[in-house]
């Protein structure tokens, strides 16, 4: 009888005009190679955030798995980043 735990990034989705990357990280527990449980943790990544001077700071992808980084780098083009930055700045002024 062997219990194993593994991590699978089983969903990497690109959504919306700002190319948010939705990542589903599955933790899989198996007993004798038969799956017992699968639990999900999700997070989303966008291309950056504004600093105090409204400069867009790129999201740090160093902690991401290679497949996630690859998707992010592929979809976060200059145009996407520019649009995202504009959106963040606009949100600041439209906050209720």
């Amino acid at each position: 009888m062997a219990l194993t735990e593994s991590i699978e990034y089983d969903k990497i989705e690109v959504v919306g005009q700002y190319k948010h990357v939705q990542v589903r990280k599955a933790t899989v527990i198996k007993k004798d190679n038969k799956e017992l449980t699968r639990s999900f943790e999700r997070y989303t990544l966008n291309s950056g955030m504004l600093d105090a001077s409204d400069k867009l700071v790129d999201t740090d992808l160093s902690g991401e798995p290679a497949e996630v980084s690859a998707v992010c780098n592929a979809v976060w083009t200059t145009d996407v980043k520019a649009a995202w930055k504009a959106k963040l700045i606009a949100d600041k002024s439209s906050t209720p």
Partner: protein
């Protein structure tokens, strides 16, 4: 002198030797007596040249080791008797042929016509009849240009005719060999035929149903001896694929089994011509309506796997997701359910401790909640958590509830912006909650928003 008289020593009589009354062409005949006397019962014989000798009497066949007929033997109403014997030289029998090819004898128990020599035993006749000893019951008849008939107790059972033979009664045989396409036919109109056509074996019933009955089990074997169908008496009917049982009836229904992925396929209208021939699974009880109580069906025309209750579609699954009550609108399809955890992070701020953060997504609605403690912080940045599990759709703000430890009597709420991955804590008057206000304090918040 034509006679010589010899006077006996006593009695006064004579014995004479007399010549014939006349001769032929004055020929002389000289008869010479044998030198010595013969044996008892012998007769005086000539050699044809006048030499006389003593020999056996012609009637003494018993002692004649090589008797011969000089002409046809006329029995004159008598019989030729041959005792019990056998086919061998020292056994009584009647022998035919130069080499004794045919012998007829009775061995004391049975009679034999023994043809062991050259050629065949041919019996020629206008008709050959084999009868009982009293000659009043037929055993077999052989009719030239006609039938051969075999009888049992004087009743004909077997008869040949121009197209074959007729058997009257039962035919018991070890084997009945029929060639390719030769048929065993049954019924007055050949209603059932069994034959081999040179390639395949055929059981052909042309009238009525075909019954096969067994006292107990019945097995249909294929590919030599692999199980195909087993019909168990008072039990299951089993269907096999490649000698492996796949389907069996049980006392309560049917069981389909397979080691590995097990499939039950219902294929209707498999030519995909678009007509409304759907595969159905019906669940039915004995009611008076005659309709299925419930059924699962796949409608090819609108590509939905549906569950009907009492004839009405209640639930369906199509390419858009789960639909209800026959709805076909894509927007109304429930296409997702998922739950899990997420990890809030303070936007442009210091670290936080996440005690719990979870989400539940149903369709395109996602509900998030979290319980966090914000580290010591003097930032004037807003309390804005990013990394929502799903990106919010571009449909405006979504408002949720929130509670913070140190905003005291000032109530707060949560807001999720459209097209974002953030959730922000605001004061109910719309004012910003600064990070420094929650330095070292905890916050609880939740919200429900539409995803993309």
């Amino acid at each position: 002198m034509s006679q010589i008289k010899l006077t006996a020593d006593s009695g006064g009589g004579t014995t004479s030797i007399k010549a014939p009354s006349s001769t032929t062409s004055n020929a002389d005949v000289v008869l010479k007596l044998p030198v010595a006397d013969g044996s008892a019962n012998q007769v005086l014989k000539t050699d044809g040249s006048g030499q006389l000798s003593f020999g056996s009497d012609i009637s003494d066949l018993v002692n004649d080791t090589s008797p011969q007929l000089g002409g046809d033997l006329d029995l004159n109403g008598s019989i030729i008797g041959v005792g019990d014997g056998g086919p061998n030289a020292n056994q009584e029998h009647i022998r035919f042929g130069n080499d004794g090819d045919l012998r007829i004898y009775h061995d004391g128990s049975d009679s034999y016509i023994n043809d062991t020599g050259t050629g065949h035993l041919n019996i020629t006749s206008s008709q050959v009849n084999i009868l009982n000893p009293a000659a009043n019951e037929a055993i077999a008849k052989f009719i030239p240009d006609g039938a051969v008939e075999l009888y049992h107790d004087n009743t004909k059972k077997f008869e040949t005719y121009a197209n074959g033979c007729t058997v009257t009664g039962n035919l018991n045989a070890s084997n009945v060999d029929l060639g390719d396409s030769a048929k065993a036919r049954f019924g007055g109109s050949n209603d059932l035929e069994i034959y081999h056509d040179g390639t395949n074996n055929v059981i052909l019933g042309s009238t009525g149903d075909l019954y096969q009955k067994s006292a107990d089990d019945m097995y249909f074997r294929v590919a030599g001896d692999e199980s195909g169908i087993n019909i168990i008496g008072d039990g299951a009917v089993e269907l096999y694929y490649d000698n492996s049982k796949k389907l069996a009836t049980t006392s309560s229904g049917v069981q389909i089994s397979h080691t590995g992925d097990c499939q039950l396929q219902l294929l209707a209208d498999s030519d995909n011509n678009g007509s409304n021939q759907w595969p159905h699974i019906q669940f039915r009880v004995d009611n008076t309506s005659g309709q299925a109580e419930a059924q699962i069906a796949y409608r090819q025309d609108n590509s939905v796997l549906k569950i009907d209750i009492a004839g009405t579609e209640k639930v369906g699954v199509n390419a858009n997701g789960l639909v209800f009550n026959g709805d076909t609108a894509a927007a109304n399809a429930l296409d997702d359910y998922e739950e899990g955890t997420w990890t809030p992070a303070l936007y442009n701020g210091t670290g936080i401790t996440v005690h719990s953060a979870s989400y539940t997504k149903v369709g395109n609605l996602c509900n998030v909640s979290a319980y966090v403690t914000i580290s010591s912080n003097s930032s004037s940045g807003m309390v804005k958590f990013n990394s929502l599990p799903f990106t919010a759709a571009n449909v405006g703000y979504s408002i949720g509830s929130a509670y913070t430890q140190s905003t005291g009597g000032t109530h707060v709420f949560s807001q999720i912006d459209s097209n974002s991955t953030n959730i922000i804590i605001y004061k109910t008057n719309g004012g910003t909650v600064y990070q420094s206000e929650l330095s070292g304090d905890y916050a609880l918040f939740s919200g429900t928003y539409r995803t993309t």
